[in-house]
Symmetry: C2
Subunit: 119 residues, 2 copies
């Protein structure tokens, strides 16, 4: 049971779109990810997903609107809602989502990651 400094954790990896697990609580994982460029359209049929911006900006496209998240801002994307994150410049994001979640939902793409690493 140790404290976690988010900025220090972000120094430990460089890969983009490759979430790293930093902790868990109840049946959720807390993950950190670096994002730059476009992800893929996907949804998670059974899982709500929280995005919290630690550094930079992240645009999240939905089918009916775009939401731009700045540092210190968050959004919860309900289960089943299509979304596509885009970052013009590298952005550092904390994710909270169930342990059962798949990276790109039922979409299989070259960007899809499985067996995420703990840092």
């Amino acid at each position: 049971m140790e404290k976690i400094n988010l900025k220090e954790k972000f120094l430990l990896f460089k890969e983009q779109w490759t979430p790293k697990i930093i902790s868990g609580l109840n049946d959720q994982y807390i993950k950190l990810a670096k994002a730059e460029g476009e992800f893929v359209w996907h949804n998670h049929a059974d899982e709500d997903e929280l995005f919290f911006i630690v550094k930079g900006k992240l645009l999240i496209k939905f089918r009916d609107k775009d939401v731009e998240l700045n540092e210190g801002e968050m959004i919860v994307i309900p289960k089943g809602v299509d979304h596509m994150p885009i970052a013009k410049e590298e952005c550092c994001v904390m994710l909270i989502e169930p342990k059962s979640i798949k990276h790109t939902g039922e979409v299989k793409h070259e960007i899809t990651k499985e067996d995420l690493e703990w840092i």
Copy 2:
């Protein structure tokens, strides 16, 4: 489905040790609290609890050690672990914990809050 700016939310209330619900995901609530002074020793028998420091510093006393959390730092307190938060000066904290959790666990105290408000 709107974004949430944590610093703006903290401007909406002044009460200390009175968590406000700002969102939920899966079976968890996301809450904001202002802390100053000493809380009470308690634990949550069945729920892990995340503390993330948005502003200020929070000392969390455990039975065997103290952990000082600074801005941008977090800790997950596993179910069943006794803890007591203390803030010398007012501190702004984000909590993530199951919807079922009780504010001070099985401890009843004048500080205990029920029926938390959404902001």
